[in-house]
C-alpha cells in the first residue's frame, strides 16, 4: 500500500522533486511486490504432469445425486456415464437398463431407466448382453449409475468427458457436489476408470 503515498501525501514547497522521489520509491516497492508474489507462487508451479488442470469425478465418492446433469455451465453437461465393460456382468436383467419393478422387459420407455435412451443393448451370447452408452444422448443424470451400483457390479459410473469440459477455473458442479467427489487433478489422473484401476 506504500505506493499510494506519492499519490496523496505531497503538498509542499518543492512538489516535483519530492513527488519524483516518492514515485521512484513506489516503483521499486511495486516491482518488489510483484517479484515477491510471483516468486512465491513460482515455487508452487508444477510441470504438466503434476499441475492441476482437469476436473474429474471420483466414482468411489459419487452418490449419483443427479446434480452433474443440472449444475454444469454447458447446455448439456460435460459429465457422461461411462461403462467399464471388464467389470460388467453382462446380465440380461440389468439394474442400470430396466427400471426397478418394470412389468415387461422390453424397450418401452416406461420400462427403461435412462430418460434419453442413451444406453444401447446388444445380444452377445446366451445369457449375456453388452451395454454401451451413446454419449450424444447421455445427459449425465446418473440414474443408470444408481441402478447399476444398487443391483449390479457398479460398472456404470459418471466421468467428466475431457474433450467436452470447458475447464472452468472453478467447476460449478464441484461447488454443488454433495460428496466432494469432483476435484482438480493432474493429467495422468484425468480419467478414473474402474477397469483400469
Amino acid at each position: 500500500m506504500k505506493e499510494k503515498k506519492d499519490d496523496n501525501g505531497n503538498i509542499g514547497s518543492a512538489p516535483i522533486r519530492r513527488r519524483e522521489f516518492l514515485r521512484r520509491v513506489g516503483t521499486y516497492l511495486a516491482g518488489g511486490g510483484v517479484l515477491a508474489v510471483g516468486g512465491a507462487a513460482a515455487t508452487k508451479v508444477k510441470g504438466k504432469d503434476e499441475a492441476h488442470l482437469y476436473w474429474q469425478i471420483d466414482p468411489s465418492k459419487c452418490i449419483q445425486c443427479g446434480r452433474c446433469e443440472t449444475s454444469c455451465v454447458m447446455g448439456v453437461s460435460a459429465v457422461k456415464c461411462v461403462h467399464a465393460l471388464r467389470v460388467c456382468g453382462y446380465c440380461d436383467l440389468c439394474g442400470g437398463y430396466y427400471r426397478t419393478g418394470a412389468k415387461v422387459l422390453d424397450t418401452a420407455s416406461e420400462n427403461m431407466i435412462c430418460p434419453t435412451g442413451a444406453i444401447k443393448r446388444k445380444f452377445v451370447e446366451d445369457p449375456y448382453f453388452e451395454y454401451t452408452i451413446d454419449e450424444a444422448l447421455c445427459t449425465g443424470c446418473g440414474k443408470c449409475v444408481k441402478g447399476c451400483s444398487s443391483f449390479g457390479n457398479g460398472s456404470l459410473f459418471l466421468q467428466v468427458k475431457q474433450e467436452l469440459c470447458l475447464r472452468c477455473n472453478e467447476c460449478k458442479i464441484s461447488l454443488e457436489c454433495p460428496s466432494g467427489a469432483i476435484t482438480r487433478v493432474s493429467a495422468p489422473l484425468a480419467y478414473r476408470l474402474k477397469d483400469k484401476a
Binding site: M1, E3, K4, D6, D7, N8, P15, R23, G26, T27, L29, A30, V34, V37, G38, A41, A42, K44, V45, K46, K48, E50, A51, H52, L53, S60, K61, I63, V73, M74, L85, R86, V87, C88, G89, V124, E125, Y128, G152, N153, G154, Q159, Q162, E163, L166, R167, C168, N169, E170, L175, P178, S179, G180, R184, S186, A187, A190, Y191, R192, K194
Partner: protein
Amino acid sequence: MMKGRMDKKTAFSVGRISAAVLSLLLLLSCPALPLGAQSRFPRPDFESGYQYPELSYAVPSETVWGWIDVSVLLLLLCVMTWAVHRKRTRTPIIISSALSVGYFGFFRGGCVCSIGSVQNVALALVDPGYHLPIYVLLFFLLPLVFALFFGRVFCGGVCPFGALQDLVNVKNLRISRPLAKALGVIPWIYLSFTLIYALTRSQFLICRFDPFIGIFRLGGDFGLIVFGVALLILAVFTGRPFCRFLCPYGALLSLVSAVSVKKITITPHKCVNCQLCHSSCPVDALRPPYGNTGREESRTSSVGRVLLYALLIPLLTVGCAFLLRSWAPQMSLANKEVHLLKLVTYSEQHPDGTPTPEVEAFYAQGRTKEELQRSVDKVHSDFRLYGFWGGALIGLVIGLTLLSLTTRRKRPDYEIAQRECVACGRCFRYCPQNMAAAAKPVGSASVPSSTDTSSTPESPSQSI
C-alpha cells in the same frame, strides 16, 4: 485389491463351472474390487469369442492451449504497448480489442483469465496440495509486469472483458467525481472478499459472479447474463463500468500503474489546453489544469485536517479489520465444510426427516462429526485471520480515498491520471497536437488550428 485379483484368476481356472456356483464362490470370498466396484455378478466366460471393445478416453492436451494462450497474451500486450507508447493511434487498439474478444472471449470461453488468476495464485500460496499451472501464473504476472513498465495496456485491448465494454462504448456521460471515487472503492472490497474466500479454500468469487462469461459462452446462469447485458448497456453510455467499479484485478493494475516507469502520454508535444482529450475520455481519467493559486483555507484548518486523517485512517483500518473478523461465522457459511456441519447437525436434530444428499454422502464416506467439527474450526480460524487482513485493506482504501478527495495538486496542463487511464487511446485522435504529429512525422512544434480535429469521426461527448 490382491484378494480381488486372485479370485479372478481362480474364476478363470475353474472355467466351465456354471455361473451360479461361481457367483456364490465370488460372493463368499471377494467383496472388494478396484474403486469400490462390487462384483455381485461374475465376469462372464464368453464362448462365442466375444472381444471386449477397446474404449479410449482422450485427454486433450491443455499444455499446448496454455502456451498458445500465453503467446497471444504476450503478443497483444506488445501490440498495445507499441500502439499506446510509440504509435499513439487507436486503430491497432481496436484491432487488438476485437482479437481479444474473439480469441480469449468467444473462442476460449473466457477461462483462464488474468482477473480470475488472482485466486489461483492466492490459493497456491497457502495450499501446499494445490499445483499451480505455469500459464495461470503467467496470466497473473505478465499484465502486472507490463503495468509496472507501461501502465494499464492490458486493460486497454488485451482483457476480453474490458475490450468488450470498450467496443460497445459510444457516449461518455460523466459520473460526478465523489461518486466515482466512492464506487472506486468497490473493486478493493471485491478483491478483499475474493482473497478471503480463495485463501480459505471456500469459493472462487470472481468466477462465480463473472458477468461476461455467459455472454462469451452463449449460455449460463440467467441472472449473471442479465447482469452482464445490463453492464454492457451501461457501457454504451459511460466507459467501462465493470473495469472501473468492479474489477478486482484492475484495482491491482491501477495501483501498479500509478508508479509505472513509463507514463502514458497523449502527445509528445506541448499541450494547448483545448479540452478535447478531456471530453473524449470514457473513464474520466483526464485531469484539467489546476492553478492552486491563492490560499482558500487557513493554516490551522489544514493542519487540523492532517491530524484528522492521521487519526481517521488507522481508526478506519483497525475498525474494518475487526468488523470483518467478527463477520467470520456468517462469511464462512459459503464454505462447503461449514455448510455440511450445519446440515449434519440439522439432520441429527430431525432424525425422521429425509436426509439431504450431502448428509447421505457424509455418512456413506464414514466420516465422523468430531472430525468434521475439527475441520470446521480450522476454516473458522482461517476466516477470522484473513477476514482481519481483508478488512484492514478495505479500511485503508476507504481512508486513503477520503484523503485523496481533500487534496488537490497543481497541474499546468491536462494530465492523465495513470491509475484510472485504461489505455483505450480515444484521446489520441482528439488531441490536435498528436494528430498534427501523426500527419507530419518530422515532429514540428507548430500549433495546428482547431479545425484539424473536425476530421475525427466521433463527435466530442457530452458532459452532465
